[in-house]
Symmetry: D2
Subunit: 265 residues, 4 copies
Amino acid sequence: MRVKIQASLNYHFYQPADVLLSLEAIRSQDQLIVSDQLIVTPPSALTRADGPELLGRRQWMRAHGDILLTYVAQVEVTRGPVNIAGLPETPRRELSYDVIRYLMPSRYCESDRLAPFAESRFSGAHGGDLVLNMAQWIHENITYTPGASNETTTAADTFMLRRGVCRDYAHMLISFARAMGVPARMVSAYAPALDPPDFHAVVEVWLSNAWHLIDPTRMASESNLVRIAAGRDATDISFMTIFGMAELRDQWVAVSVVAPEPLPT
Amino acid sequence: MRVKIQASLNYHFYQPADVLLSLEAIRSQDQLIVSDQLIVTPPSALTRADGPELLGRRQWMRAHGDILLTYVAQVEVTRGPVNIAGLPETPRRELSYDVIRYLMPSRYCESDRLAPFAESRFSGAHGGDLVLNMAQWIHENITYTPGASNETTTAADTFMLRRGVCRDYAHMLISFARAMGVPARMVSAYAPALDPPDFHAVVEVWLSNAWHLIDPTRMASESNLVRIAAGRDATDISFMTIFGMAELRDQWVAVSVVAPEPLPT
Amino acid sequence: MRVKIQASLNYHFYQPADVLLSLEAIRSQDQLIVSDQLIVTPPSALTRADGPELLGRRQWMRAHGDILLTYVAQVEVTRGPVNIAGLPETPRRELSYDVIRYLMPSRYCESDRLAPFAESRFSGAHGGDLVLNMAQWIHENITYTPGASNETTTAADTFMLRRGVCRDYAHMLISFARAMGVPARMVSAYAPALDPPDFHAVVEVWLSNAWHLIDPTRMASESNLVRIAAGRDATDISFMTIFGMAELRDQWVAVSVVAPEPLPT
Amino acid sequence: MRVKIQASLNYHFYQPADVLLSLEAIRSQDQLIVSDQLIVTPPSALTRADGPELLGRRQWMRAHGDILLTYVAQVEVTRGPVNIAGLPETPRRELSYDVIRYLMPSRYCESDRLAPFAESRFSGAHGGDLVLNMAQWIHENITYTPGASNETTTAADTFMLRRGVCRDYAHMLISFARAMGVPARMVSAYAPALDPPDFHAVVEVWLSNAWHLIDPTRMASESNLVRIAAGRDATDISFMTIFGMAELRDQWVAVSVVAPEPLPT
């Protein structure tokens, strides 16, 4: 399935600032980048800051004054429907450290603090069924409420607040999963048909020796998400990390499923 | 310089548990493993769980009942004296993501919360001199006090508590460094001449395109430390992560600088 | 019903310290002090520090070295069975400030943070029935676990931890009640038949223009509790507040229902 | 000195709500109410909710739709200049419980958590001099910054944030004072010559057997402040506590020192 993306961000930087951008789609087996481009206006040099490819592509920008950032892409998403029901957990002792790190508590996902609740509520099920039970609990107990949380809100806060946005839903599911021994990480994504259109955040859980997408907000379909970056929690996947002060003037995200088009020649 | 290590841990596991071990010395240019061995008694199979080699070697163990773990090693440490005075910072836009991740706040190192203080107290200096100023402030304002903190204590807690152990000293220096734009990470280590002998935790800061060791407790010498694992904070470098319940019965750490000996043939 | 109390505390004070004692039973309509005495060994002067009589009787002690404190009392408890089922709430605008203060969040009872959960879980019921629903939820979801919490644990912590002791049970019920508009406060008490015998902490809720006792641990009977002090949370009702350092060497609490005895003449 | 007050608040209540008002000046020896009136438009009944007179006068209001609240008063403030330099502390064992309660930590004043710093920084001085040292430290280390804090910010937060408004300055000084054994409480006030005019929050410390005003922001003069309410921290002295949802549309505070005028006959 072909997904067409345009994300535009207009910021004003009062002083020169370094900015780390995480806007480009990940290149991976389940999402082929047909074409993409990150455009800065006025034209400005970008410096690649990539780490492990599958955790996201990143670039440095030096910014001052009015900056318009535009990312346009066409991505062929081939992962098909995601169904984790019945998938077994990978035995813990078969996990390598690249996966183990997603078992540990992190700043916004205090899985250790939420473990007593998770154990009392979710014991019995395993693997994919366990994760689906957690997602169901979140669906029933958390209300999607823009403005109810902020960038310092943690999963433990959300557990009390019972409201939040995609970031908070993801932190909750990740925390529950880790508390019950399932490695889980956060993924930023472009999602077709989000209403209103926006950057999205979802979850990946490690089951049966692979990462599997799941959107605890149920606002997007895992089959047509385009992943941008993966990390322990919101700390790692911010689409812009600004070292300085800036003001967001305007933001526009358009993501849609399209018929494949011939590329410009 | 040749460092000889013996670390022995005697635990009782009431029920079978998976245990992730991070006890082995890192293999790197500045510390050559002459010989080492991780011995489990009663004999039990270990499974390697390594990630990136320079972040530490890890193994899985399945444990039940009384377990004696012993790590013995001889390591040739060649790094020589560490002197960061005068070292310049790497310009931020030259950092790759493998280093950038150590600029971000983490669970026990809330560099964002400590930034206002760091900026008001440490502005002016740069690079290695800046880090030495921070270490000096910690030396003057934090009192080494076993028992004053626990495994949930964060840098922000220590900033108020003014007491702590090596773990807390490291979290403070890491937080200050990140707050001022210097990538910093936590390193577990074997240190000769610690009194009392124990596992140790120190800091690495990224200056002049390389990691440099610094011990904010001033209890060990950076030149003869043997590094075990590196990570964002205490979460990543625990020498034993126990998935279950266990009781520490006894622990013995002996680390000393020795004359090189011929290896057994 | 006649309740006989003996509480003995043996402390060692390494240095001279001021100690605020809150050990004596409250004098009130529902509990008549037949006889009581607070004895310090070696003999030492006490200074009364009483505030409003119904919030508890307090005394200052100057302590150094080994101190044995003994409180002995016989109290006629006349309140009879407590049954709050069906009791109406007092309309808020009829509350005076002496009661209103127990509607506000306090340090260990973050009723504002727990309000979203309380509203989602307890809406519908009112007054005494509402409070009983909350107590039932606590009974079903919190496990009495000595050692699981400490003196800094708050109701929000307990909400996640799902374990605690009488202090934590009380903080939870108080927080839920305040969150739903029912004034609630914490009461220290001597309780017959506690197993093991100890100081106890329970709750009073304001319903139908009066305070009503309720023990969310269900370990004591409200009808034979002897109240010691009342306050917003654990901060206000500590049986000993020590301004300095001391070590508890021994503690013994015996509380029993007895046949009335003739007083010594 | 005659102080003339007008405070007007325009709120919109989307639904009927109970509102607890704490807007009227305290009647006390050092501030004589010459005349005052609390006016609700459209006209609406108020219900007195007073507690101890010296902690403030409070009223209940039932509100719906647009409400204009106006408090007008003339108050003769006779306390004269406040100078706490050299004032001795009251020996702890002479404190009654009405004062002792202001020695304890409270929700926004975590004096226990700030005690290590306070002890390391302020030891040596006593009584009024100690409090002045604390106020000086706050003056030098905290920057008055509207918008930097919010209604959940605690003294421990401000200690890290190094910025705040009158509420935060008061919480810091109260916490330091309590940590060092000086009872301290928070006082809401009308202050002439504030720029911009607003409700104000200051501190009272217990020295030499009496409460003494001190404004850690240094924006107002203690000699012409008109006290409204006193309590443990911001929890107790909010000028409006709204049980429901409302929107502040406009607020206007005018406080000035005037020549005494004959009262209307």
